[in-house]
Amino acid sequence: MPENWWTVAVLHNEELSEQTTTGFSLTLGNFEGPFDLLLSLISKHQLDITDISLSKVTNDFIAYVRTLETADQLDEASEFLVVAATLLDLKIAELLPRGEVVDAEDVALLEARDLLFAKLLQYRAFKEISSWFSTAMALESRRVFRQVRLDERFRKQQPELVWTLSKEEFARLAEETMTPREIPMVGLTHLHAPRVSIREQAIELVTMLRREQSMSFAQIIGQVRDRAVVVARFLAILELYRLAVVTFEQDSPLGMLQVSWRSEAFDENQLSALGADYDS
């Protein structure tokens, strides 16, 4: 294969790609997943993928995730949240004063960053190479090959067909073939952390806050090891805040976040309705 074909193909693809970027059913808003969104934000700010200005990109990313409102979108949004959480972590780490202490958490954060960027690079690689596929297919589809029905006399040369099915067997085969196959679902549970119910976390929070009246965010997530639960609790707090069930206090940026209960505003029904948005 001539090497320059690839180059030609890429140039040629500019016009083709425009027509092919629409119409995918799982598209979240305009973006096909968190990597797609992240990539487009990075290129919007004209940043190098390895040297992302985290603040800008994280703000945009979070802003976009906020626009995901319908149940359908949220159903698909778990991957977005994982990326959002990682970005937030990284942004916080950037803002923190640099100390000399390197503890296990810092290392984990660095690993999370590397993993995110590596996955993003990988995603970008496949995205870029897909334009070659598109062009190669477009070019090849113009090619014409000889495809002429075999002459009757040659067709008669083939060995006689041996037919063994009765019409009943044939009907059964038709029925089996046309019965829609249950498409085995992708077990997302082994890929990502198991789904965490925001409603459950909200109920948990309400119980805790009713007892304690006021807690710091650190206390709220104190025992939790699972990042998804942390995210879910954080979202639950935001939801409760929106319902005016809790208030926040924070003395200084990055200072301790205190969450307080406002029991007079609470209505049990609101809590049960809250979960509905997130259930799939």
Binding site: V144, F145, R146, Q147, V148, R149, L150, D151, F154, R155, Q157, Q158, P159, E160, L161, V162, W163, T164, L165, K167, E168, F170, A171, L173, A174, E175, T177, M178, T179, P180, R181
Partner: protein, 210 residues
């Protein structure tokens, strides 16, 4: 070069010798175009038809076809081909040369086992109960591409092309007499009833247009 000149020169000269003539490229290009057309045509093509489609005078096409025929026959200095240009029913078409038909026979008998594959049977069943149906629709019922099994069924004479959808250009297939004979029934209506709750191609998105 005039049209008559081409006709004259082709009578005695090999195409490779036309290099001495003023417009060899025009000729070679015409020969290539005619060859290309003949190579993909499913039916015999008349000289007039080819002339019209290439927007070239009839006598030039006639001369070109005659040169190509001689060429395939090995009369222009090169090897006789395994294929030839034959005039049938008022048109020209590429056929396997008679003395190489043995090769095609061996090839054909090698290609076709006596029993249909499971994939072919399943595809035939879908076509039988859902005809007329396009390949895209069969594919979306079976969940796999069916191009090659449809070819097999066609070559076995069990199905036939019924019509081409004017909108999508998709060919719609149905079963043949041969199929009915194999199953021992008289008409499609004699097929045993199957559950009415199965996918109907009319309700399916053609998987090819997704």
């Amino acid at each position: 070069m005039t049209h008559d000149e081409i006709a004259e020169t082709t009578a005695n000269e090999a195409p490779s010798l036309t290099n001495d003539l003023p417009e060899p490229i025009g000729t070679e290009s015409l020969l290539g175009a005619v060859e290309a057309i003949l190579m993909v045509a499913e039916v015999p093509l008349s000289i007039v038809h080819i002339a019209a489609s290439l927007d070239t005078p009839v006598n030039e096409i006639r001369a070109a076809v005659s040169m190509i025929k001689d060429d395939f026959d090995g009369l222009s200095g090169s090897r006789q081909r395994g294929f030839e240009l034959r005039e049938v029913g008022g048109g020209w078409r590429v056929f396997v040369r008679e003395n190489f038909e043995w090769a095609v026979r061996e090839f054909v008998s090698n290609e076709n086992p006596t029993k249909l594959s499971q994939a072919a049977l399943e595809t035939l069943a879908v076509i039988a109960y859902r005809q007329p149906i396009s390949r895209g629709q069969i594919a979306s019922i079976r969940g796999v591409n069916v191009d090659s099994v449809v070819r097999t069924l066609l070559s076995r004479g069990l199905i036939t092309e019924m019509f081409t959808d004017s909108e999508t250009g998709a060919i719609n297939y149905g079963t043949t007499e041969t199929f009915l004979e194999n199953l021992g029934i008289n008409t499609i209506d004699d097929l045993p009833l199957i559950s009415p709750y199965l996918p109907d191609p009319n309700n399916l998105t053609d998987s090819e247009s997704k």
